[in-house]
Subunit: 303 residues, 2 copies
């Protein structure tokens, strides 16, 4: 299956002429997942003419304004547009208490429920799961509890090798188990390993979102080998000490993580407003990891 990543905002704390604060939409297995929701998220969606009727879950990385101030406006507009499907907002502990009072006041009588699901940003855990997709938290290193998200397609069934099934005369009733990976035991008691009967399931897609975070090698095993990594790159190397103080990353640090985690592609984002031209960030990243690209508001990436 293919997937799409839609960048709604690639900026950081202060918006600029070109960059709204952080928000993106991941389209995966016919579903839409929103990641962070900075101020103006719904405006960018409108500007792009995006239909988001398959959005059921929003994931908020941390409780800094540039990652969540767009929530109330987005939800409020859903109400005006007569959305009926419940909306789940996953966020660090405390998010419900912060937003529920305003929701009660501004969104009273909406035809759908907003359900906050809080997670522990310090733990690596599955926080969402359906038949085809799984989302796990990636504990990050920031000034407040902050978590990235790993979106991973669940593996589909293995593909049966028809000739081998016929050869071993596998009963039809057992095929489903074999597609799921079971070995086959013949009537003579011989074990035929699954690998002899099937080929692997289709490759699954994985996408990791890591923002905001200081350079942290702890995340490397959690995101190892993903198809696409979005990693914050707030600063250039010249601001490395500022990156450390504010617990952000430089572009080269983001690229180092991408390299060490052996990811296929790196998207840089969350740019400081000081870079009206972000080419320096790209250059510094590419010196470490070639397959890097700059996020831009309203850009769409195929994964």
């Amino acid at each position: 299956m293919s997937a799409r990543l839609i960048i709604l905002g690639a900026g950081s704390a202060l918006p600029t002429r070109n960059n709204f604060p952080t928000s993106q939409i991941l389209e995966l297995r016919e579903k839409q997942f929103m990641i962070d929701c900075g101020e103006g998220t719904q405006i960018r969606m409108r500007q792009m003419g995006l239909k988001i009727n398959r959005l059921g879950h929003i994931f908020i990385s941390h409780l800094h304004g540039d990652h969540c101030f767009g929530l109330i406006g987005l939800i409020s507009s859903f109400g005006m547009l007569n959305r009926t499907a419940d909306l789940y907002v996953h966020g660090p502990a405390g998010i419900a208490a912060l937003f529920e009072p305003q929701l009660r006041f501004f969104c009273e009588g909406m035809p759908f429920k907003v359900i906050f699901e809080e997670f522990d940003a310090k733990k690596h855990a599955v926080i969402y799961e359906d038949r085809s997709v799984e989302v796990t938290t990636i504990p990050l290193k920031h000034r407040v509890p902050c978590s990235g998200f790993l979106f991973r397609e669940k593996p589909g069934e293995r593909h049966i090798i028809r000739d081998m099934i016929d050869f071993y005369q596998v009963p039809i009733a057992q095929l489903n188990l074999i597609k799921k990976g079971a070995d086959f035991v013949t009537s003579e008691g011989n074990v035929i390993p699954n690998e002899a009967l099937t080929t692997p399931s289709d490759k699954t897609i994985s996408y990791a979102y890591c923002s905001d975070t200081a350079y942290s090698e702890k995340i490397i095993p959690l995101i190892n080998g993903v198809d696409m990594l979005y990693h914050e790159a707030t600063f250039a190397e010249s601001e490395k000490s500022r990156a450390k103080t504010t617990m952000h990353s430089t572009a080269a640090q983001a690229a180092t993580i991408a390299l060490k985690a052996n990811v296929s592609r790196l998207i840089l984002g969350h740019f400081s407003a000081r870079y009206s031209n972000q080419q320096i960030l790209l250059n510094e990243a590419k010196a470490v990891f070639e397959n890097a690209i700059l996020a831009e508001d309203m850009m769409v990436f195929d994964i």
Copy 2:
């Protein structure tokens, strides 16, 4: 003196490709006043490259999201930019309770105070006053307590007619009183009326903001003769019954108010998202009141 009105958002509840929700800045007597602060207000300011270091007071008409969801982001950014001057937010009763908890959480440790000053939206009263400017509420007719705002320059001093002052030998000590409108009594006891000694002070500028509101003739005496009236024009005449139900105005109704209140110029705004082209609103308004114009995001009007 001259004044400028800067439109940051001319849209209504749902943002569109071109229109952010409502916000504007009035520049008057070296000061900046913000009126309403919908989502994305700070983004529009950045896109325009606006400097707003003379902004001390924000006036919120009512507690619907498209008029106040930008507050928290704007204030939060002021904090990051190390603003030190206190910021006053004037709004209907209830505004402090709605925003203070988020401010405490997201804007902790900011180098300035945010002071909420609540007003009774049903009363016509002065809510702000300094040496040169006065702001009064204009009770509007909407689904929730809602108030427009009348900004008026205070009259300056009258201009002395030098020849007459010499002729009557007015002592210098009395000149200040005479500039303020006092008559002069000669040593023989003759009263020289002020009008014989002075010419009127310079014309003062007045601006009235009326959004959101159903058609309401009650506001006419309150805005009579203003230099510029911003009146909401959410709908065209074809949606007149919807305007009534939702307590909004049609463009023709806005124009009727402008005509009856004898204002100099009418700016239409707060357009429903259904009008991708707002020419019909302008045409319907102009049929009633010729000196009407459509607000557009990032437009600047001299008053």
